[in-house]
Amino acid sequence: MKIAVCIKQVPTREWQPRLNDTKTWIRDQDASYEMNEPDAYALEEGLRLKEKHGGEVVVCSAGPARAAQVLREALARGADRAIHVEDEQIGAADAFVVTEALAAAMREEQFDLVLTGLQSDDQGFAQTGVILAERLGMPHATIIMEVQAADGRLRVKRELEGGWFQWIAMSLPAVLTIQSGINQLRYATLKGIMAAKKKEIRKVAAPAGLSARQRILKLDFPEKGKKTQMIAGGPEEAARELVRRLREEARAL
């Protein structure tokens, strides 16, 4: 099976981001970056499918030069080769632009299966996999918790609300967006890191004329409202008043 896994490089979560001067994105000079965590699960799932069914895993990323770091990491974990659609503007682009850049580089590869993480840790639109499927002309399924492949067909388990799951049978080729926690991530080994150096990262220019479909008008930090109310009086009286406020004002009871 020829498997593609799409990976995004995102700012790390253990960090206090600051906004840029126009308040439309974070100040990226302060940020450190890492592999988008849901994509790491997609990669692991791809590697497991390859180990079971044979074939190859190709990791694909659209992003600035620094995104090569997550591709190298994926190669060290066991991916066979990488495609990097390199463009300095694409780091914070919308899913429409990102998928156009990815699809242009991926189309000719004729992948059997394309995996993405469910969503990105930075923008969280959960759209890249879906729009990419449309562009590649493949069916897709989202929020995947389990993947079974046999005889050129897939059975996949989707996570629904309220503890419900749904099994879907679909044909290949297909695009799946993988839910985090579907598997346990492997570590890169020393041999893997050494082998990664010899693996190919094919750099591709982004197609000309990419134009964003959406524009971020303004980013805000959630306001921290400290609304402590002090209740005076003796314990009994105060408790009664607390219950009243919880019931009538907060409607928590």
């Binding site: 790390t12 991530l185 020393l190 890191i193």
Partner: protein, 556 residues
């Protein structure tokens, strides 16, 4: 369990444990020596516990470029990230509300020709130079134990990965790798866990003075425009420390209104209620510093111990099959507040000795002793020997230390061949001795504690958030503590000093019905090593957590 698992092994000529300035300089120098002499290329591997090189790097820092000039002569063309050349030096003696400016800048504090750098950025750049030479840097791998053949060091075993918090292997368990090397260079930093083991096993400190340490706490700020000229270096003495405490503050100004603000406290303080993080907050509240940072924004936080003892405390840095470089050995000049250039040079000299040993097929201590000979003939000794007693003199109080430093400077260090010092943590006094018996009131919290205003001052937990620290939560605690000592002895005697000397809120005393219990918040740990050094009963051992964990000191 771990003795029966099958381990990956790797054989190299030279293994370097630690990807800081010392280790990376050793790697780069080795490849340069190789190129010069030709022949079979050496296989070299560098281990680094951080997720990526530079992530655990934190220093002031003002860089003396003397070693860099030799190692990478075209460092400017190669765009070494030097934030700003130093244009101005100021030294102040602080009083609680005021400052006295030193009329002249003493030579050790003169920084003409030096650069303000982010050590994180600098080391990242250095690692790119090393990787460009085809050398493998394995980041995310911590050296967990030294491998021996008899008494000869033959390499290092990396830490197991994928062990859960109960010590059981998870599905993705990946046993540590045995890396065998002809020569192993230990560059595991201040109070390195492996160097510590070597020092104990081989008595490398015999005949030397005990090492003394300090802790540096630093923040990166962006301040309102026009507050301070880029390239300005400020050092302070005095407030908020008293005369029995060693240390001082610094402010280094970079372009784009970015400023490093930091405070170094000697880990040889006497007051058991002293808290280095509080001293740092007090420093920031002093009008001199507050006037620079107020209204700005804190961007990152970090803390790291530093070896302050100087020349006479450096252990024997060579043994069968191994060399020790950089902060791990204590190559730091506490008088100039600089060690990066010494770390780099020690790495370069170790490379020289290791290269010769590998080519001769003899990595015995007798041959590797050449490293020590090279150090003695190098600018390292020239710089460190004259000021060898300064830190020990400060052990006799600020006035004695200051006078001695002045005399050492003027006379180039003729006075006293060797002044004895104490291991820093030995000076801390019990609550009874420091407070009760002198009729002093024991403070409720730490001495001079500050209520954080979250503008200029912060609590430790907020600060840790800004250090970018992350560890996989499902792993064994990497701070091995004999907790039975806590409540029975250390608590009553010292009032749980770990709560105060840790700058990251790792140690927390939880009061329960049955008594006090030590809770270890290991995932807060910023790998500064202060607890391993400072705890009065020496019952805390810092071991590396799963590789890749720790702070993320971007821009620090």
């Amino acid at each position: 369990m771990t003795s029966t698992v099958e381990r990956e092994t790797l054989d190299v000529d030279v293994l370097i444990v630690g990807g800081g300035p010392a280790g990376l300089s050793a790697a780069l120098k080795l490849s340069q020596l190789q190129k010069r002499t030709g022949g079979e290329p050496l296989s070299i591997a560098v281990l680094e516990k951080a997720r990526e090189t530079g992530a655990h790097m934190m220093s002031g820092a003002v860089l003396d470029v003397s070693a860099l000039k030799e190692l990478v002569p075209d460092f400017l063309d190669r765009q070494a990230p030097l934030a700003s050349e130093v244009h101005e030096d100021h030294i102040y003696f602080l009083t609680p509300g005021g400052k006295l400016r030193f009329p002249i800048t003493p030579a050790p504090f003169r920084n003409h020709g030096n650069y303000i750098i982010s050590l994180n950025r600098f080391v990242k750049w250095l690692s790119e130079q090393v990787e460009a030479e085809g050398i493998d840097i394995f980041s995310g791998f911590a050296g967990r134990e030294v491998l021996y053949d008899g008494d000869r060091v033959i390499g290092v075993r990396t830490g197991d990965r994928g062990i859960d918090k109960h010590g059981q292997p998870r599905d993705n368990f990946e046993p540590g790798v045995d890396i065998h090397a002809k020569v192993t260079i230990f560059a595991d930093g201040v109070r390195g866990n492996l160097t510590k083991e070597l020092q104990r096993r081989f008595q490398l400190g015999a005949g030397r003075e005990p090492q003394s340490f300090a802790i540096g706490i630093k923040e990166l700020w962006e301040v309102p425009a026009g507050r301070i000229r880029p390239g300005t270096v400020i050092h302070t003495m005095g407030y908020p420390l008293n005369t029995e405490e060693f240390g001082g503050g610094f402010v280094y100004a970079m372009p784009d209104n970015r400023v490093f603000v930091g405070f170094v406290s000697g880990l040889d303080y006497v007051d058991p209620m002293f808290d280095p993080h509080v001293a740092f907050q007090r420093f920031k509240l002093h009008p001199l510093v507050r006037g620079i940072i107020e209204g700005g924004q804190m961007i990152r936080y970090g803390a790291k111990a530093l070896p302050e003892g100087g020349w006479n405390t450096i252990p024997r840095p060579y043994l069968d099959g191994a060399l020790i470089v950089g902060d791990a050995a204590g190559f730091m000049n506490s008088m100039r507040l600089k060690g990066i250039h010494l770390a780099m040079r020690s790495g370069m000299l170790a490379a020289d000795a290791a290269f010769e040993a590998v080519n001769a097929g003899d990595a015995s201590a007798a041959r590797l002793k050449r490293y020590e000979t090279l150090i003695n003939a190098s600018p390292i000794r020239k710089e460190l020997y004259p000021v060898r007693n300064v830190h020990q003199a400060f052990g006799h109080g600020f006035v004695a230390g200051f006078l001695y430093a002045g005399i050492a400077m003027v006379t180039n260090g003729w006075w006293f061949d060797r002044m004895t010092g104490h291991a820093g943590q030995d000076r801390i006094q019990t609550i009874a001795r420091y407070y009760t018996r002198r009729g002093r009131q024991v403070p409720e919290g730490a001495t001079q504690a500050v209520k954080p205003d979250r503008q200029v001052t912060f609590d430790k937990l907020t600060n840790v958030h800004y250090s970018g620290t992350r560890h996989d939560e499902d792993q064994p605690v990497h701070l091995l503590v004999h907790t039975e000592v806590c409540e029975s002895i250390c608590g009553p005697e010292y009032n749980y000093p770990c709560q105060r000397f840790c700058p990251a809120n790792v140690y927390e005393i939880v009061t329960e019905a049955v008594g006090n219990r030590l809770q270890i918040n290991a995932s807060n740990c910023v790998h500064c090593k202060t607890c391993d050094i400072m705890d009065p009963y020496q019952v805390i051992t810092w071991v590396p957590p799963e590789g890749g964990g720790g702070p993320q000191y971007d821009g620090m």
